[in-house]
């Protein structure tokens, strides 16, 4: 019972990485004294496996390639004995999106997934997170040379779910990683969409959208590590908050190391506050250790409705409530429409509409 060697890792809330997170609401998952089960929570939807395969292997056979300082993810790695491995064949062009469905059980659980995009392959992977539960998970996404992967993670949890996750991409030579992270559900969601480059010429675009209503805490901690020359990254995250206790956190850490010459990066976070009492924290953080870069920039805005936009729409006869709805749907649509899967786009916009209707859209 002497927990000293591990106990000291338990965050207290004073750490930079945890200062925004309400630890009390983590259901003890960050605490090494709490037991969490080892369960594979993800499965392939459908039976078609053309151009890819999915299997469960032992964790020792497929250890993580990346390092992490995140306590939850360290616990996930220590606990998970098996790993789900989705492997897209070398040079495969998988035209239909690959859907992975995640459901949590009643107990607190940890799981690991690895996605390998073979050299010069092209595919879209969609992870659909639904239901309730408390889950800690890591997805390591490995893009081999010239691979082109779109990775979409949809957090459509119900209102009780707790989701702590790390989605880490390792971008290989001339590979192209596109990610879309959409969080509209869950009581507490804390995601780490992170990217590193293993070779030159890699490119990553991270798009994100979160919509927090009363009582939700939605946190996204983006980290792009440019440690290799000639990498490119674009980060765009947008959020809407409605309801007195709606809370969002966006961290955008972009590091350009001394050897990462020719880096080209830009990150943007925009938040729209619909009601009083909601709180959006936005912390872009760009650290540059070399001057030999193509470009580096960041921007962050948090504000209310743009009166000029509403005036413009209303001056064409559109009533106030409808004008607001158009602006909000437009705000979301900029990200949602990038998914490119009509059924998913429609489902998300409907969910957003119904959540807006609940909070009155004011």
């Amino acid at each position: 019972m002497s927990g000293l060697p591990t106990n000291y890792l338990t965050p207290t809330g004073r750490e930079e990485a945890w200062r925004f997170t309400p630890l009390k609401r983590l259901n003890g998952m960050h605490d090494s004294a709490t037991s969490v089960i080892d369960r594979i929570s993800i499965e392939l939807v459908g039976s078609v496996r053309t151009g890819f395969n999915i299997e469960t292997v032992s964790a020792t056979e497929l250890p993580p390639k990346s390092t992490t300082e995140d306590v939850i993810i360290q616990r996930v790695r220590a606990t998970a004995s098996k790993v789900t491995h989705l492997k897209i064949d070398k040079e495969a062009i998988v035209s239909e999106p690959i859907f992975l469905k995640r459901s949590a059980g009643v107990e607190k659980e940890f799981s690991r997934t690895v996605v390998t995009a073979g050299a010069h392959s092209k595919a879209t992977v969609v992870v659909e997170n639904e239901g309730a539960g408390s889950i800690g998970e890591e997805i390591e996404i490995r893009l081999e040379a010239g691979a082109n992967l779109t990775f979409i993670s949809l957090q459509e949890w119900n209102e009780n779910a707790i989701h702590l996750g790390r989605h880490h991409a390792i971008v290989g030579r001339d590979a192209n990683f596109n990610s879309i992270t959409i969080t509209v559900g869950g009581s507490l969601v804390r995601l780490l969409p992170t990217v590193e480059y293993s070779d030159q010429g890699g490119s990553a675009e991270l798009l994100g959208l979160y919509f927090a209503t009363d009582g939700q805490h939605l946190e996204h901690r983006v980290h792009v590590e440019h440690g290799i020359p000639n990498g490119k990254s674009r980060v765009t995250y947008k959020g809407i908050l409605a309801g007195a206790q709606a809370r969002t956190v966006w961290i955008g850490d972009v590091f350009i190391r001394g050897n990462a010459e020719g880096t080209d990066t830009y990150e943007l976070n925009k938040n729209l506050l619909l009601t009083d009492g909601a709180r959006a924290d936005s912390v872009p953080n760009l650290e540059i250790e070399t001057g030999q870069i193509v470009g580096a920039g960041h921007a962050s805005t948090t504000g209310r409705f743009d009166d000029e936009q509403l005036f413009y729409l209303m001056s064409r006869g559109i009533p106030m409530s409808e004008a607001r709805r158009l602006v909000i749907r437009g705000f979301f649509g900029e990200i949602v429409n990038k998914i490119g899967i009509e059924s998913v786009e429609e489902r998300l916009m409907n969910r957003i509409d119904s959540q807006l209707a609940k909070v009155g859209g004011q």
């Binding site: 001056s315 009533p319 602006v327």
Partner: protein, 250 residues
């Protein structure tokens, strides 16, 4: 036959140091089918006149009245003014990211007509109006005003005017930032709508250039927040020669 009547209109804006008066008693009547050019130097209050008639929240009406066919416009919300038949073509049309032109036009038409236009005829109507303004059909899929060039923004304003069929239109410096070709296309659009719908027009401009394409019936010189001289088209020619110096207080 419609009539916009502006009487003794006084308008101010709230600033840190209190209310600043901009319009100091404007009187103007515009009937269907008439073109009234409002000309004046920068800062004379021309745009304030346009925006306060449209109901922009920045401006406070401190006196006077505006009626359309006898109905008080100043009591109406912004969208009600559009429904009553007023249209403002803005000098700086606002970007609305993520809202496509097609969706915007259809939503506006639905609001103004009280029911959604029939898909089949509507699509044709939009296409035809766009081609008359030499606009690429791909335009419909772009976000409202986002990344539009100056000329594209102005064409988009006139496109809306053509589709939404107002009774009285206020064109706020629609000529600014247009090259000769764009000016001609936009002007032809305005003339067409005027012809087809017997539109009454308040044409606000700093320059006489646009008046070669859109012939005014009346010219009003605007300075210091009110109309200081009125006349026919010949007044514009005189302004072209002599400028506004004589109207601006030393």
């Amino acid at each position: 036959m419609s009539q916009l009547v502006i009487k003794g209109l006084q308008v101010g804006v709230e600033t840190d140091s209190g209310m600043t008066e901009i319009l100091r008693g404007v009187d103007l009547t515009i009937n269907s089918g008439e073109v009234h050019a409002i000309m004046g130097p920068n800062g004379s209050g021309k745009s304030t006149l346009a925006y306060s008639i449209a109901g922009h929240p920045k401006y406070t009406i401190t006196g006077g009245s505006v009626t359309l066919d006898g109905v008080d416009v100043l009591e109406m919300s912004v969208d009600e003014r559009a429904k009553a038949g007023l249209f403002l073509a803005m000098q700086y049309p606002v970007e609305v990211p993520g809202v496509s032109v097609a969706n915007f036009l259809r939503t506006a038409a639905t609001a103004l007509r009280g029911e959604a236009p029939k898909v089949r005829t509507w699509v044709g109507e939009v296409k035809e109006a766009m081609s008359k303004l030499a606009m690429d059909p791909a335009f419909s899929e772009r976000s409202v005003n986002e990344g539009f060039s100056g000329g594209e923004k102005k064409r988009h304003e006139i496109l809306q005017m053509e589709l939404l069929k107002p009774k009285i239109a206020i064109l706020d410096e629609t000529d600014s930032g247009l090259d000769v070709d764009a000016l001609r296309i936009v002007s032809e659009g305005v003339n067409r709508v005027k012809q087809e719908q017997n539109l009454g027009i308040m044409l606000i401009t700093h320059y006489t250039r646009i008046l070669r394409y859109i012939k005014p019936d009346f010219v009003h010189v605007f300075a210091g927040g009110k109309i200081v001289e009125e006349g026919g088209p010949e007044l514009a020619e005189r302004l072209e020669e002599k400028g506004y110096a004589q109207y601006v207080k030393a």
